[in-house]
């Protein structure tokens, strides 16, 4: 257990340093004078000076870098150029929305995707073909378009679910869930399709292996062969691809937050772009990277539990 965590951190910490460094240099790659680019040509001299100082641009670049990294380690991500508020608390305020979306979506993806993949692997013929074509169609429909169609059907016509907005979990859990159904559905369809395909091919792969025949030859019941043995072996590659799907779902939630007016990281990021609010952008990049690292760690632990080769090596 500790070894697995240690191994993941040995990869994650250098990666986080690289990503933070790349995020820091976002300011340096702004074409022209960054301060003019950020504030536009019409700002006052004081405003230029304030932002220049805020970004630390009046000092040598490596001094800026170490100051910035040192502050980052202490959880200080600077101040928003537009609002003047601290970036870190702003992001923490937005985090529950995006995390709710992505975490519910990945859980739904795992359950539905694996179940569908299992069915299409075990059932040949028409059901198998429908599942196969369905999964291609599922990965081809853009989530934002699907989201709007869902609003049209379930919120506007049927009036069974709210169209937009977000209610915090601790205020009204029922409302929280109701507001997340449609956006989660919109981003989950493609991920479910992808996981169903992965499960199907992993199951087909495992069912062709010798140990399945050994188990059957000892009289092991079919249900035990499928669920206790085949599914567990097939789950190893599927869990790995779930971690990639989580990264896709984070991308998806950024877009879908616009459709459903959800005040999450995605919305924060889109607003920050229009204002070229680089400190906010840097903060969002780093926080997303941390989210991905956490999910990869969870995936490593699940994999270690599933796969004795990982655990015992």
């Amino acid at each position: 257990m500790l070894k697995v965590i240690g191994r993941r951190l040995a990869v994650a910490i250098p990666m986080l340093i690289v990503i933070s460094t790349l995020a820091f240099f976002l300011v340096s790659i702004i074409p022209g004078d960054p301060v003019v680019a950020l504030l536009g040509p019409d700002a006052t001299a004081e405003e230029y000076a304030r932002v220049r100082a805020e970004l630390g641009l009046d000092r040598p670049v490596f001094v800026q870098y170490f100051d910035w990294m040192f502050a980052l380690v202490q959880g200080d991500m600077g101040e928003s150029i537009r609002t003047g508020r601290d970036v870190a608390p702003t992001i923490i305020g937005r985090l529950p929305v995006t995390v709710s979306l992505a975490v519910i979506a990945i859980i739904a993806t795992a359950i539905i995707g694996i179940a569908l993949g299992l069915v299409s692997s075990l059932r040949g013929g028409a059901i198998g073909r429908v599942a196969q074509v369905g999964s291609v169609v599922g990965t081809s429909v853009p989530n934002f378009w699907l989201g709007i169609l869902l609003v049209l059907v379930f919120a506007v016509n049927l009036k069974v679910l709210p169209a937009t907005g977000y209610v915090p979990l601790d205020k009204a859990p029922g409302q929280w869930a109701a507001h997340l159904v449609l956006p989660v559905t919109a981003i989950t369809v493609a991920a479910v399709a992808a996981i169903a395909r992965q499960t199907r091919s992993a199951m087909n792969d495992v069912l062709g292996r010798d140990f399945i025949r050994t188990l059957l030859a000892t009289g092991t019941p079919r249900t035990s062969v499928i669920y206790r043995h085949a599914l567990r072996n097939a789950a190893i590659p599927v869990v790995t691809s779930l971690s990639f799907q989580f990264i896709n779902l984070l991308s998806g939630s950024i877009v879908i937050e616009q459709v459903f007016a959800l005040p999450g990281l995605g919305q924060l990021l889109v607003v920050a772009i229009t204002g070229r609010d680089i400190p906010v952008v840097q903060g969002v990049v780093i926080v997303t990277a941390i989210l991905v690292i956490i999910v990869n760690l969870v995936v490593d632990l699940v994999n270690a539990w599933l796969n004795p080769k990982v655990r015992t090596s």
């Binding site: 291609v136 059957l216 000892t218 567990r232 015992t312």
Partner: protein, 583 residues
Amino acid sequence: MSATPLPPTATLRTIGRRRFVFPSLLRNPLALFGLLWIGLLVVLSILAPVLPLQDPLQQNLTQTLQLPSAEHILGTDTLGRDVFSRIIWGTQPALLGAALAVVTALILGATLGVIAGYVGGWFNAAASRFADLIFSLPAMVVLLALAAVFGPSTAISMISFGVLLSASYLRLAQASTIAVRRELYVDAAKVMGFSTPRIIGSHIVRNVAGPVIVQISLTFGVALMIQASLGFLGLGPPPPTPDWGGMIAEASNAIFLQPWLMVPTGVVLSLTILSANLIGDAIRDGSAMKRPPSVLRRDRKKTGTLQPLQMSSPESLLEVSDLTVTFPSPDGDSHVVRNASFSVDRGEIVALVGESGSGKTMTALSIMGLLPFPGTVTSGQIRFAEVGDLVQASEAQMATLRGSQIGLISQEPMVALDPCYTVAAQLLPTLRRHRGLDRGAARAAARQLLGEVGLRNVDDVLASYPHQLSGGMAQRVAIAMALAGNPKLLIADEPTTALDVTVQAGILDLLRELQATHDMSIIIVTHDLGVVADVASRAVVMEHGQIVETATVSELFAAPEHEYTRSLIAATPSLVESEANHG
């Protein structure tokens, strides 16, 4: 959304040494649809300036949000512009943008991947880290961050997305180059007149062409999706330029006034992404090996009548008569076993001998009722003493016979055990089921059984996972599993082929010993006449699915009747030698 490149697991799976066979896309109706759709879009987008389309920018505020009509075949938008015309004019930038991303990814990924695989060392490690880094970044966050720096620009976004996509091409090229280098390392000395990089180059192109074409097709769809998402977020070309993503965003603002407006652009976008995916899938499925036949998907058209039949002699345990095993296929059925008849007496060790492909393993598996799908027994009987004709047994009936009447040992011990469970977790449930034992008694029985198959430190073995065992130990465990239900017949399918020579004799001795102590019959399936001479009393020789000779082992070696048997004996050096010594 499939926003990041394909995960490396998917990419590496498609890499193989086998040569890529370009399947006929035209025979696959879905792929044909994809080709036609994308072809149509390409033609329309090129011809857009000369087609009699309405001006995509021409506003008409008296005719906004119209439904389809003769004048506007897909209706009009919020400013009264013709939707059809705007979709066609938006096609070219959409396709070019996605192509820009794919070309960037291909050039960057393939170059870095080949160099990394060829040079190896730190550069290879760095390239892998680079790919890992990209795989762990949500594409949308990166693209939005860059848009914040550079301002919205389709070209910059799509080139950046190409860099993100390049990771999967990099993995592909890298893995293939390393594989080719390994393969050629041995051959390189033989090859004269060609420089190594050139040979590697041509090999790589041949090996990677298929997976890369699949990747191009699938990533093209992903790039279209990302580009439309950026347009939807307002980061596409500025209005009034027709842009698919932007048009969907406009439509979503008018959703209460005219829901129809959502339909045309969304459907065209979805169909285009779908087409790219369908083409990619068709190439992948066409080039990939057909899925391995699974023993779980079987023909269940059995009568399920199982009653003891008269055997030709009281000594007989198994009588196979006129057995034919068929694998149906659209190109004509293939009969892997034809009219095979033989018998096994109680307490006898019979060898089923032949080269690979002679039908010996299929004969053995049909006795177990474990023929790989879609193989079936199409004629004949398999009579088992006191049980009946196994050909007629239902799957449920066979399940009760397997392990308790007939046991099986496979060829490859290292893959014959479930890698996810310890020996105890696999052996104990089997013992409990067959012998009706509780947990403690099953453990005692397992220790005793493992001792009997010649394993020491049985508690360590019970706690081990299969990958912690040697081949010989794993084969002994597999034998213990097969013996858990005290079967009357043990089928050993090439039980020593995958083992070290030093271990082989031990396993054969064990089988002989177990035959005596358990009073079992054994069918040993082998290509090795040395094994036959060592353990069997009778041999059944198979060639091309037919039995060509049945004889006692001493008769067989003294006076082989069939030409094929003689050639088998001649091909076994140890036997020829020993005969020479005798003579």
